[in-house]
């Protein structure tokens, strides 16, 4: 009547069939050497309905085709920040995973990762101390009302990817208050001094109640003893949450603080502007004030990087700031800090920024590179600094660009 063996066989086969149907191989272990005179790295974020995942992608061409992550790119665990230091590209974890991956190009043209170092917390800021590509400064400062909460400064040797010194400062010594704390917005090192911009906030709500003053903490470098906090009421606080675009130093040793009081501010009481701490001094220069709000092609300089010769490559927001966390209406621009001029970039798209992240941009041989998403498509833009003209480059096969670097 029934053959039991057959039945068992049939059922086993159907189980196996289900198993086999679902087997598919998508491992691709072949290294993909990148040739060419220049090799760039991109820190890319892919947002799906479930999560955001980060990758580092190497390419020799930022200008044509599609920068695709399909079976390409190095997966980076967790939330990531990227920084180009010399010929290394740093991928630093935030939120839980706080490891430091140093990505570089090996002799055969493959991206390799050096790991081993893990920060104790998510770094608030990471910086090539002197532009020489040898020393990294990592700043840790999370707004806290705890009386003895400290900000930390780690110095990292790039070659060995190891911490060479750890210094701390009590947060309240910069801004004595038991109802407000502060957020770090940028740091520069000039000779034996470090200058740090910050702004006061209510750490629970991130409301900014005090926007009348620009603050700079002046430290002795490299021991990070606090000398003083200098203030100036011609602008509000410089920089904003997460953007790391608050303070810049030029080759000649002049330090500039950039206040916009847009993204990240619950109110604004001063016009957007730039102040200067002249070389050799540790005080604001009373003779220098650059009102960027009223300047031609002006607005709020929300994201910026220093590109040499007293110039910033910037993303400037115009119009009214709709609310605290809007990072919209941005356009590329070149800011000359000493000449106090802003040059609009021809062919710049108008786009929305990624908010509290370090500025994903690269300056390389007279060209600046950044990304912008327009109508749902993210592109690389190449900006010729001399002519202030943008050229639309490669399509980015990712949701956003978190960092651009050059490793060869």
């Amino acid at each position: 009547m029934y053959n039991i063996k057959q039945l068992i066989k049939a059922s086993l086969f159907s189980t196996l069939a289900i198993a086999a149907a679902s087997c598919s191989s998508n491992d691709n272990d072949n290294p993909q050497p990148i040739d060419g005179e220049k090799v760039y790295t991109l820190g890319l974020g892919v947002t799906t309905t479930e999560a955001t995942t980060n990758y580092v992608l190497g390419t020799n061409d930022l200008m044509t085709g599609t920068l695709s992550l399909t079976n390409n790119g190095l997966l980076q665990t967790g939330y990531r920040d990227f920084l180009s230091v010399g010929s290394s590209f740093f991928s630093i974890g935030g939120l839980g995973v706080t490891d430091v991956n140093v990505i570089s190009l090996d002799a055969s043209g493959n991206l390799t990762t050096k790991s081993g170092l893990t920060f104790p917390n998510a770094a608030t800021d990471i910086k090539d101390v002197d532009g020489q590509g040898k020393t990294l400064l990592a700043t840790f400062a999370s707004a806290s009302l705890v009386a003895d909460a400290k900000a930390e400064f780690y110095t990292v040797n790039v070659a060995s990817n190891s911490i060479t010194s750890t210094k701390t400062v009590t947060m309240r010594s910069l801004y004595p208050s038991n109802t407000e704390s502060w957020l770090h917005t940028g740091i520069v090192v000039r000779g034996t001094n470090a200058f740090q911009t910050f702004y006061p906030i209510d750490p629970a709500t991130y409301a900014t109640n005090n926007t009348d003053t620009a603050y700079v903490a002046v430290y002795n470098y490299p021991d990070f003893t606090l000398q003083k906090v200098i203030k100036d009421v011609r602008t509000g606080p410089a920089g904003s949450f997460g953007t790391r675009s608050g303070i810049f130093v030029t080759e000649s040793g002049d330090v500039y603080t950039v206040a916009h009081n847009g993204y990240g501010y619950s109110k604004s009481t001063k016009e957007a502007g730039i102040l200067k701490i002249a070389n050799g001094t540790t005080e604001f220069d009373a003779n220098y004030y650059f009102n960027t709000a009223t300047a031609t092609n002006g607005g709020r300089i929300v994201h910026a990087m220093y590109i040499g010769n007293n110039k910033l490559f910037a993303e400037i927001s115009t119009g009214t700031q709709a609310s605290q966390w809007v990072d919209g209406n941005l356009k590329f621009a070149i800011v000359d800090l000493s000449a106090k001029t802003i040059t609009a970039v021809t062919n710049s798209p108008t786009f929305t920024g990624d908010g509290g992240r370090s500025f994903a941009a690269l300056y390389d041989d007279g060209k600046a590179y950044a990304a912008a998403t327009v109508n749902g498509v993210c592109n690389i833009y190449q900006i010729d600094v001399a002519t202030a003209t943008a050229t639309k480059g490669a399509v980015v096969g990712a949701t956003f660009v978190g960092g651009i670097g050059r490793v060869k």
């Binding site: 679902s22 309905t49 990758y55 790119g73 995973v97 809007v326 990072d327 929305t352 908010g355």
Partner: protein
Amino acid sequence: MAQNTTAVVTGKVTDDSGKPVEAANVYLKGTRYQTMSLSDGSFELKAKEGSYTLIISYTGSKSHSQSVKLQAGQSLTIATVTLSNATEMQEVNVQGKTTSQNIREQGFQVNVIDLKAQYNTTSDLNQVLNRTTGVRIREEGGLGSYFNFSLNGFTGNQVKFFLDGIPMDNFGSSLTLNNLPVNIAERIEVYKGVVPVSLGTDALGGAVNVVTRSNANYLDASYSIGSFNTHRAAVSGAYTNPNTHFTVKANAFYNYSDNDYKVNVAPIDLFSRQTLPARDVRRFHDNYESAGGQIEAGFTGTKFADKLLIGMLASGNDRDIQTGVVMEQVYGARTARSHSFIPTLKYKKTNLFIPGLDVSMYGAYNMSTNRFIDTSSLVYNWLGQSKIDSAGRGEQSLSQRKNKDNEGLVTTNLSYRLNEHHSFSYNYILTDFKRKASDVEDPTNPTFLLPQRLRKQNMGLSWKTDYGNFTATAFGKLYLFHAESFENVSQNNTPDYQTTSLNSTHYGYGLATAYFILPQLQAKASYEKAYRLPEATEILGDGLYVAANPNLKPESSHNFNLGAVYTLQPSNNHRFDFEGNFIMRNARDYIRPFQGQVQPVARQNTNVGKVATKGAELEIRYAWKKLIFASVNATYQDIVDSTEFLSSTNLTGTIVTRNLNYGYRLQNIPYLFCNLNLGTRIPDVGARNNQLGINYSLNMVEKYYLTPSQLGNNNQDVIPRQIAHNISADYAMQNGKYTITLECRNLTDNMLFDNFRLQKPGRSVFLKLRYFITK
């Protein structure tokens, strides 16, 4: 007319002492003809003419069988049937239609897990559920750890949990499925995608109902001890006075474990911050303790109520937290604890006022407190070393968060049997949830200012029709939703927090049918348009971290099941059961936080996700002579992200980006898993009425990826194929009065992982002692 060929069997069922037995199953073997005895023990069963085997069974009793020959139009009265007490082993191996089987034969796609067969194991409910089709439970660590329950790919509050029909989503972390030992429950029902109105909340992906034991008189006590200093105790019992009908039911559990199993990690030197070589270390901050109990007293089997019980459910737990979401986040001081008190009232009456009208009402008031404590100024590494973290207090963030949850729960079910072909059922569930949060470390946080409230009223109406081999249930559901939260309405810089509220109404509907093509072959099809309503904070915000989005729609899904059950009994010695299901889910409007911008507060939830699921489940069970049992099941689920564009409307306008995972499988969800079980029960080993059982099981989860696997090259995010072999032996003495069980899990000490590569315990050994009596 049908009556030409129809006959009627009537009779009465009593126990040893001559007392009538209510709710005994009476049926004709191999057919759908079945009924239950009434409170006076009487029954009446209609069937077509023919020769049958009449079976009468009742939990805890030996079942009765006799041949009957029915002629057209005949009214056959059989002699009173006396059911004698069964031993526990017979309880396990009751043949024929059990309650479980009756549920399975409805049109709904349901896994009914009969826990009686598990009473000698050291499992908790999660571990039992993890061996069934469609279900994956991924725990973060050992005993008591947080877990992610996934049913056909639906997770979190898309799947709803019930304890005896009462929604238990907000019962606190000490009354979850991983705390409850198998011995307190009789069965678990897992409804896939299509949920009957009696469990009528907004369950997008299905519902799990834990049914506690219903024996009138019994005592079951057990204690187990095992690896990682794990202790688990459970006592449950019931007493019913045959004269006064006074009933007391109680159960209690206790769990403790150090959870100090070895994990393979690369520790970090706290001074140099450099990674040290990978090694095996013991987890050092993972103690878990929980205890709980339920006592109910009242009357059963009286004229005014089949059941009238008032009770109290109380529980608490204390948990050390060893890791964050990933192994790299290691903690040495964070803890969480919770306690819950839940008074309950249950009332049930069949044939209220008129024959065929049954009513049941459950009420509960849930008072839970959940605390999260993170105040240490130290950082820890996997070697258990610590160092002061000068950056601030709290390993993750300084907190002594306290959530006080209060929830009123009422469920009412009215059902009416119009005739043998048609019955109707109406169900009403009210849940009124309020949360008040506070944190002494952050007293001015505006999110704690006002309570959040979510009131849901869910109504369901169903019509069930039975014609011979065909059964169908059509139902409609109505969801009334009321949420309250608060937001800052200030136009200036002085905060002004005002209560906000929102009402909405949604409709769901569905159909579940089953048809016996042959007496041994049943086909089933079911469909539901299902919803998951937003939580109060998802739609109204919490005043700070989450901004309100009043346009948020509920998550919805078209759920479709097609299945067949086939039983084959080539001879009395062999029995095969085959069950195969095809599932299809088309879900949309998943509620997710807006990810487009990095900002610390005021993030909005939006409807972004569309997910299409096609899956197949297969289970085969085999038994030989009540001596050998084997089963194998496999689940394959292709859960595909069908969101082409991620569109989020935010304060800045609408942002549209292409979803690079479009058309690919959803990350971080297992898609293929199998379970194999082989067991034997050898009677009269050592002495008469002593029984030896040996059981082997294998669990396999195919490798899967934590991130979109089509992106990146040589990704290190694979969760490799996992295989666990488990073996156990139990020796039951004096018909199951005393049982001793020895169990070894993960026999070959394989590396097992769960969510985000969190490592699971290696080989572990448990010993369980159990005492069981029933009257």
